[in-house]
Symmetry: C2
Subunit: 160 residues, 2 copies
């Protein structure tokens, strides 16, 4: 597992599409749940959100779909913190099927810490404890091997 | 609407997360349904899939989340075909809330035509009729204005 184990889920029957395996959109839902788990891990949990009025918004996500995931599979997600600043976390998530060492999908996400007050949403700095927890995960991630291919500009022809 | 109208959906109550609006993963599910609609539009519909054993796989997706989408919203998706070759379609999808001209999210997807025979999956060329339909959508797309920001390498620091 190249990353920090963060989330697991059974594949639900309604996530299977006409191609006979996990619909592309549901790979993203699994990543979304893994982001929730990452939030819990660094102290951005429900109690923090209720107390502070702050939360994470996903502002960008890149997904590579590498292997089919089937109806009977359980998917394990590991996370890496690639970078962070006072209000953002850049994280990578790898999805694997139980019993298959190959990576089924890789998602990169940029996550932004915001304060919500009704319709007024403003970016907000992380509390020191959260920044420390994120830095700890980033250090742990740096010690682990990374899977490719990473994000990039999309296109049928790419500059060489 | 900067693109070809392709799909609409009400936001389902179970798509709303603890932040009080559409969960990031469900933006991707809406894009997934829009890809189905694009497939129907170019002749890669259920009858074609049953007859040919061929379908589209999503191999890569980039999403920018630009605006919150709320419980009572209906989301309209427009598509642009940015490029295509004998087996791939590079398409962009713009999501808008009914009554709001702003783009709520932009997704870019790379779609690959494959033949499925049990576990053996191989890329396959599009039939001529499908290629013609894709080319027609590409020409129509080129005549329409594009929204930014497009896909890119993700990171907290970018080369200038």
């Amino acid at each position: 597992m190249a990353g920090i184990p963060i989330f697991e889920t059974k594949v639900l029957p309604e996530w299977i599409d006409f191609n006979g395996h996990l619909r592309d959109g549901y790979y993203g839902l699994i990543v979304s749940f893994a982001i929730d788990a990452l939030m819990d891990r660094v102290g951005l949990d429900a109690a923090y959100r209720a107390r502070s009025g702050c939360t994470l918004y996903t502002v960008e996500m890149h997904m590579h779909y590498l292997r089919e995931v089937h109806r009977s599979d359980t998917v394990a997600v590991s996370a890496r913190v690639e970078g962070a600043d006072h209000k953002r976390i850049h994280a990578t998530f790898e999805l694997r099927r139980f019993g298959d060492p190959g990576v089924a999908a890789i998602a990169e996400a940029m996550l932004l810490h915001v304060h919500q007050a009704g319709d007024a949403v403003a970016t907000a700095p992380f509390p020191a404890q959260v920044s420390a927890a994120v830095a700890e995960l980033q250090a742990a991630s740096a010690a682990l091997p990374a899977e490719g291919p990473g994000s990039r500009r999309m296109g049928l022809r790419r500059p060489t």
